[in-house]
């Protein structure tokens, strides 16, 4: 038997391949059992990439259900608040194609604002808010905790008197940072001082400063 195999080159090759296939298969099977990952960490990772506005624009009640749906094979382009960056990040994580956003992109981060003199205190918006960012009691006017609002606009539709506006979130000076320069071939941004006319009027007492 051994001699036959040794003499016959093709047979030897086939046997060798079979042995290799069997041993690697066993190795893979062992590794699969031994290093099995409990739970479904992919959902956690997807959830971490989603913007957590809990807006439900994807058709799921919140970000986590959508993350679960994505891991089950749903499209990755259903998150308008996340926009292109989230799609790109998800595509990168899951090795899928980047797709154009399904729906209208949100260009600027927004925040809900209740015109308080029009509010009738119906508490419908409070029930709609996914992050409990609206304060108020029945028949008292409501107000939005701006820092907690995710800008999901779920409170806009339930309002019977249309007193909720979505306004662009104000950026404070603390949030400002230098923009990336334009790159080679461009002059770095510079500012030239302008003298404002009102300041040109001689200030009282300035002459005394020369002492």
């Amino acid at each position: 038997m051994l001699e036959l195999i040794a003499d016959n080159g093709i047979l030897a090759a086939i046997v060798a391949l079979l042995v290799l296939a069997a041993s690697f298969g066993a190795l893979l099977g062992f590794a699969g059992e031994r290093f099995k990952v409990e739970g479904d960490p992919v959902v956690e990772k997807i959830d971490a990439l989603l913007p957590q506005t809990q807006c439900g624009q994807c058709g799921y009640p919140g970000c986590r259900p959508y993350a679960e749906a994505i891991s089950q094979g749903d499209e990755i382009n259903k998150c308008p608040p996340g926009g292109e960056t989230t799609i790109a990040a998800l595509a990168d994580l899951l090795g899928r194609e980047v797709k154009p956003l399904d729906g209208e992109a949100q260009d600027v981060p927004k925040v809900a604002y209740i015109r308080e003199d029009e509010c009738i205190g119906c508490t419908k918006c409070i029930q709609a808010c996914p992050v409990d960012a609206i304060l108020g009691a029945a028949r008292h006017m409501h107000t939005v905790i701006e820092s907690e609002c995710t800008g999901c606009d779920l409170c806009v539709d339930p309002c019977p008197v249309d007193c909720i506006d979505m306004l662009p979130r104000e950026r404070s000076l603390d949030e400002w940072y230098w923009p990336l320069p334009d790159g080679p071939g461009h002059r770095p941004a510079t500012v030239t001082p302008s003298l404002i006319a009102t300041d040109r009027a001689p200030a009282v007492g300035q002459e005394a400063g020369h002492g």
């Binding site: 960490p41 990772k45 971490a48 230098w178 071939g185 770095p188």
Partner: protein, 359 residues
Amino acid sequence: MSLMHASAEPARLPTSTGRVMAWLLLATLPGIATLAWYFGWGVLTNVLAATAFAVALEALVLKLRGRSPTATLSDNSALVTGVLLGVSLPPGSSWWLILVGVVAAIVIAKQLFGGLGHNPFNPAMVGYALLLVAFPLPMTQWAAPHGLFGPEATTLPDALRLLAGLTDPLALDGMSGATPLDAFKHKPEAVMASEFWASSPLPEGTMNAWHSVSLAWLVGGALLLYKRLIGWHIPVAMLGAMAVIAALLYGVDPSHYGSPLFHLLGGAAIFGAFFIATDPVSAATSRKGKLYYGAGVGVLVMLIRTTGAYPDAVAFAVLLMNFAVPFIDYYTQPRTYGHHAPTRGIKVKRLEDETEEPR
């Protein structure tokens, strides 16, 4: 952001890319002059043709890429590539040879990678290596040291005819020389080194000419060092590594290996150490990295010279080390202020690593 800039102050250090390159060109002049003095007009025709091609091609490609040629050409980097390639070619090369080399250098190695600053390989050496592999015959014919005006010298019209490709270089008596390294490489195995040199295998004055040329490049290199256009790290590491290996081999078997001096001055080592390997775009970044990079070039040069198929190896050694630059860079990061140890490697912290950290 600094609102002051060194360029506004008088300083030893040139302060704009264009001026850096201009000083580099100035530093090549002694070398070019000496080369021409020994090897004739062919050197000058090479350099002029190569620079003309380089500038024209760079302008053309920039136009195709939709960039402004004038702004980019003013950094003089195309000129430098042209000059470096021109002096590397055998004197009196034909226009087509030069053109192929320059296309490889400027179009492929430089602009296709994104232009100045983005090329992973030294453009001039890419052109040279391509020519050496593709056209070995014309690339290994080196002119005999007949000088510019001597009785046997190639005249200027002859050189122009060579450039135009009207004369076959092999037919010209003065063009059939070889470099000392080439001659030594093809020394028969049984012949001792001393016997070989005694048989005067090269046209008269060849060794002398190569030594002088090397010293002229050294002068240019000294200028670069003085102007702080290059650091000492790469040339010293490269020449040091070559000298050490050559000395070891020579010590072991002087009858078959060249002396350290022969290796340092007999070929393109000095030129390569100061003008090629120091090309900042394709060299390593940190000071320590530059030492490793230079030493690597030196080791590879000696390896190829003694065991490889090519007589000289600066181009290949530099290109091979260009490959290694990202690796060297990642592993030679200096220790940043406030850190216990330098960061090593490129492992980027992953998402899951971060979440596991204690809050």
